[in-house]
């Protein structure tokens, strides 16, 4: 029975911990959706202990220059576990507010850095695959040692796409292999979502206003890099019973 899981939205906990203190977010905010799902997975007892290292409530211009993950710091939720261990959840909306605007660079591979640092449980998640996200947060709570979860949050205002596409963009980032969902337990990678049909990176990038200046040559180059990275990742990972969700 361990291999089977039920994915029914109705059976999720009804409690809404995010709403009462919710700051005023834009419509279709992927970060708000991710926080809501994380809070659903955590339960109210864990949430009360947590602190926002860089709070979600903080207005965006003030984040400038505080960067650690990259030029801009995504908001970071830290939850203490037993024995001084910490579960960190990074909500990355890829807002490069600092000096990097106009320069060409690939995003910093924060989960890979965490794996290299020896964090026992590292995972990536996307609100486009909500049950996968919930399963990973629950697993990170119960796993021994520190844990780090990197969540890619689509931002309709910053990425310039229609607000109703928020979940679709989160799915496309995974389906185009640009943001593969995996978890690394003690340094061993496991792919958690079997992508039903691979999509070209173009579908994901052309949907967003922030990548409109890319030429076809740029897209081909990005596609090549993504394919290389994904083949490297899937070669080092073990596929098997670890899959949480099939779509």
């Amino acid at each position: 029975m361990d291999r089977f899981a039920v994915f029914v939205p109705k059976l999720l906990p009804r409690e809404e911990s995010f709403l009462p203190d919710a700051p005023i977010s834009c419509k279709g905010c992927g970060e708000a959706l991710a926080i809501r799902l994380v809070y659903k997975a955590l339960g109210s007892a864990m949430i009360r202990k947590g602190t926002w290292k860089i709070p979600f409530k903080q207005p965006l211009p003030e984040l400038k220059g505080t960067g650690k993950a990259d030029a801009a710091m995504p908001s970071l939720l830290r939850l203490p576990k037993e024995d001084k261990q910490v579960l960190s959840i990074c909500f990355d909306n890829e807002a490069r507010l600092g000096k990097d605007i106009g320069t060409e660079f690939w995003r910093k591979r924060m989960p890979a850095v965490a794996v290299a640092e020896g964090v026992p449980y590292v995972a990536t998640a996307s609100p486009g695959y909500p049950f996968d996200l919930i399963a990973k947060v629950k697993k990170a709570c119960s796993a021994p040692g520190d844990a780090y979860i990197h969540i890619l949050c689509p931002c309709p205002a910053g990425w310039a796409f229609d607000a109703s596409l928020s979940v679709q963009v989160g799915k496309l980032a995974v389906d185009s292999n640009l943001f593969p969902l995996y978890e690394a337990i003690q340094g061993t990678y496991f792919m958690t979502v079997a992508v039903p049909k691979e999509r070209p990176v173009k579908d994901y990038l052309r949907l967003q206003g922030r990548f409109q200046q890319l030429s076809d040559a740029d897209l081909a180059e990005i596609q090549k890099t993504v394919a290389l990275e994904y083949s490297r990742l899937s070669a080092s990972s073990k596929q098997g019973e670890k899959q949480h969700e099939r779509h």
């Binding site: 939205p9 995010f18 919710a22 309709p156 109703s164 679709q168």
Partner: protein, 90 residues
């Protein structure tokens, strides 16, 4: 007749409150409308709503609470059965 000292102070919060009493769905231009005949009560709209605006009604259907809905249209896009359409706000 009211004098100046009987008027309430404007634009000031007089007591400590959470964000909950404030209605956040005021600025929307579209609102979701539910077609009960197509709805299968699968609760996908409830799962994907970023603002937790979709509530369970007494008869088992899920409907957007217009005090919190911002009209983003995620629920209409994600509904498998096309039971939710975005209507112009009046």
């Amino acid at each position: 007749m009211t004098t100046w000292d009987q008027n309430k102070v404007g634009c000031i919060l007089l007591e400590k409150k959470l964000a909950q009493p404030f209605k956040k769905g005021d600025k929307r231009t579209q609102k979701p409308a539910l077609d009960i005949e197509k709805c299968t009560k699968c609760a996908l709209c409830y799962l994907y709503c970023p603002d937790a605006a979709i509530r369970l009604r007494d008869d088992g259907f899920y409907e957007a609470d217009s005090d919190y809905c911002k009209g983003c249209g995620v629920c209409a896009r994600e509904c498998w059965f096309g039971a939710i359409t975005m209507m112009e706000e009046r």
